[in-house]
Symmetry: none
Subunit: 413 residues, 2 copies
């Protein structure tokens, strides 16, 4: 079954608001075996909206539309649906009752404008909204079954799950198609090289489709399998994931979207080890990422964001002579920072960064994009230097932090 | 001039990725006086993509397409553009040179698959990509001028600003319409109360349109003005912004999108003051935000991410008796943390957070969402306690950090 998705509203059309509803709906339709062909967005103009509905009806068998069901004059979706089938709107008693119930259950009184929300196109089937005032409805427009849902994400999600997806599953019966997806996250190779390394997959697993996604700073390899035999799809995709993991080696750091910091944290926890961090150029990003993981207090002990040389010396105990001799951005300084953080709180591992995130502060010798990373393990200490050619401070902070966490991860493998 | 926007790629079509490019493009086209009629999204299937291009060409005079210009086999946008005009793709020497330059400037070697990116539809005009390997191009398809840009947001943004918008302005000549927007960022009131406080604006400035946008944790008040007389629009919108700032008082922290951390940093710099931070529950987010601002090394000296009690005592010199008596999450502990960080590196201000970001760790007395904040000024030290009712760790970290920075900002006013 082929489907299309339409988001309505001037806020989305004009770019004031990013449409996150359509991605959510697409994911759930595909998982339910309904192929999504296209998404669309139009504003609150009745004629353009009506044309878009007719357009979609010509190509798709299923459509999900969000937004424009509210009580104000710029909510025109219901009228557009009526126009698309050449019918009028009528008061739907079931819809009116549900709106009245909603207000009653919240001890609020219903305003007259809410009554407008119970006007549905003739022939429409109301969809109950348990968490808001706008009921949805479904309506056949020229052979395509349209589900009209509110634009408020929370309301839309609840109605999609409870009222749309079960109908779609029932409609498919024995013909139900499944869409499986597996994501392998990799770090350290450019997109083109990553693609070249796994391109044979289409020969080995001809039933699967490969997708690459650059989600800076990592590259995600996505495997898609579609068909009617769910067990077979799961087997195929698991086999293919193993093949990809094998091809990518240590460049692959996780399956199914686990973040680098979650992987590093999981490995620390498994070893019952703790970590202390010393950050200069990453400015707290490593600590922020590590502590985004729930339960990170089991292994994360401390990070010292030491921007100034003085704080490197005073807090971390870096030898002033080292900074004098090599400079703050140097493997030797990074090593002393990592050891200093580790020692300060008695952690098992120490990880440090010192570099130049830009936009200023670079030199010929150490241009913007240079980072030195120190790793102190229970037994030893290592220093690394990298150069990344990115133009922005935030990209540099991000790839510096990822590189440091990757070094930690590899040492824990 | 009427325009449409098309995002391509299976990740977006299938919902694995939320399309933020189209909103960005819509905003910039509208500001430039180009009306956006519709957005669309299709996957990586050549035929569907080609049909979408022809569809758009029938309605719009301008179109912007993102994605599918990469080096891999699932990048089919260039071929679709060629098919839409019934031409073949040809090696474009200028495009090839720019890709080679890109790799040379980064001391990397060009892979053979990147050469594919220099194949453009016959008759296309290449658009130089200064920050990536995929050149864009523009091409007339059935009377509609299409701009094809890469899907990587920072590449797209740079090319849109430098190469697309100037052309569109030139095309409009004397007929140019202007769309002005002014954003006032506020923090500390819910969306509904913010709306009520400024709702009279439509009586006082009837030419302007008001928009509210909840961009957690702050609320943005947006003022829109549209017309052909640029000076008049600027005057109106400036007057209205002053009115809004007056109504919102200290709850308004910036105009035109300056972040809370940039405002706090600017105020510190103006006072030639420095800051040290001590973070527990915010886990480095405050340091990360402060150091995201270029030039922050002028005032940011140090942050200690002290998750464990031991590190609060060892690194910041918090009195163990204080923690024993009051607990780690308490105004008194927060005050000692702020003073400790300030003293440790000799800064003028100290700012601290200690709280419970969740999902676990809460108690009846101090539920998830509780945060204590300490502020040490050159003269004094203050302790605060807040409770926020949010369900997620990342929302709590975010609003805790924002609240702390807001306390710092207000003390610097």
């Amino acid at each position: 079954m082929k489907s299309e998705i339409l988001a309505t509203g001037d806020e989305i059309r004009s770019g004031a608001l990013i449409d996150s509803n359509s991605a959510y709906i697409a994911q759930h339709l595909e998982r339910c075996g309904v192929t999504v062909l296209r998404h669309h967005c139009v504003g609150d103009e009745l004629q353009i909206l009506t044309e878009a509905l007719i357009d979609i009806a010509e190509r798709a068998r299923i459509a999900v539309v969000t937004g424009g069901l509210g009580p104000t004059i710029d909510d025109v979706t219901t009228q557009a649906a009526a126009d698309a089938v050449g019918k009028t709107t009528m008061l739907d008693q079931k819809a009116l009752d549900s709106i009245e119930d909603f207000f009653k259950s919240r001890d609020r009184s219903m305003s007259s404008s809410n009554k407008k929300q119970a006007m549905l196109p003739e022939g429409a089937d109301p969809l109950y909204n348990p968490v808001g005032t706008a009921p949805g409805f479904c309506l056949d427009i020229k052979g395509c079954l349209f589900f009209f849902l509110p634009g408020v994400p929370y309301e839309m999600k609840k109605m999609l799950k409870e009222q749309v997806l079960p109908r779609l599953k029932a409609m498919q019966g024995d013909q139900r198609r499944f869409c499986k997806v597996k994501t392998i996250s990799t770090f350290g190779l450019p997109e083109s090289t990553t693609g070249e390394r796994v391109e044979e997959i289409s020969d080995i697993f001809p039933e699967l489709r490969l997708g690459l996604r650059a989600s800076f700073p990592d590259i995600q390899i996505k495997l898609y399998a579609e068909g009617t035999d769910e067990n077979h799809l799961n087997q195929q995709i698991d086999k293919a994931a193993k093949w990809v993991l094998d091809r990518m080696g240590k460049k692959a750091f996780s399956v199914d979207g686990e973040t680098m910091e979650a992987v590093a944290g999981r490995l620390l926890k498994k070893k019952h080890a703790t970590i202390a961090v010393a950050e200069s150029c990453t400015g707290g990003l490593i600590a922020h990422q590590l502590t985004n993981v729930a339960g990170s207090s089991d292994y994360f002990q401390f990070s010292g964001i030491t921007y100034s040389n003085e704080s490197k010396i005073r807090v971390l105990g870096v030898n002033p002579d080292t900074i004098e001799k090599y400079g703050a951005v140097h493997e030797e300084t990074a090593k002393e920072m990592a050891m200093g953080a580790k020692k300060l709180v008695g952690a098992d591992f120490g990880l440090s960064t010192s570099g130049i995130a830009g936009p200023t502060g670079g030199s010929d010798d150490k241009p913007v994009g240079t980072v030195c990373i120190g790793l102190a393990t229970p037994e030893d200490v290592f220093g690394y230097r990298f150069f990344f050619p990115f133009p922005s401070r935030s990209m540099n902070k991000s790839i510096f932090a990822m590189t440091a966490l990757d070094i930690l991860r590899r040492s824990l493998l």
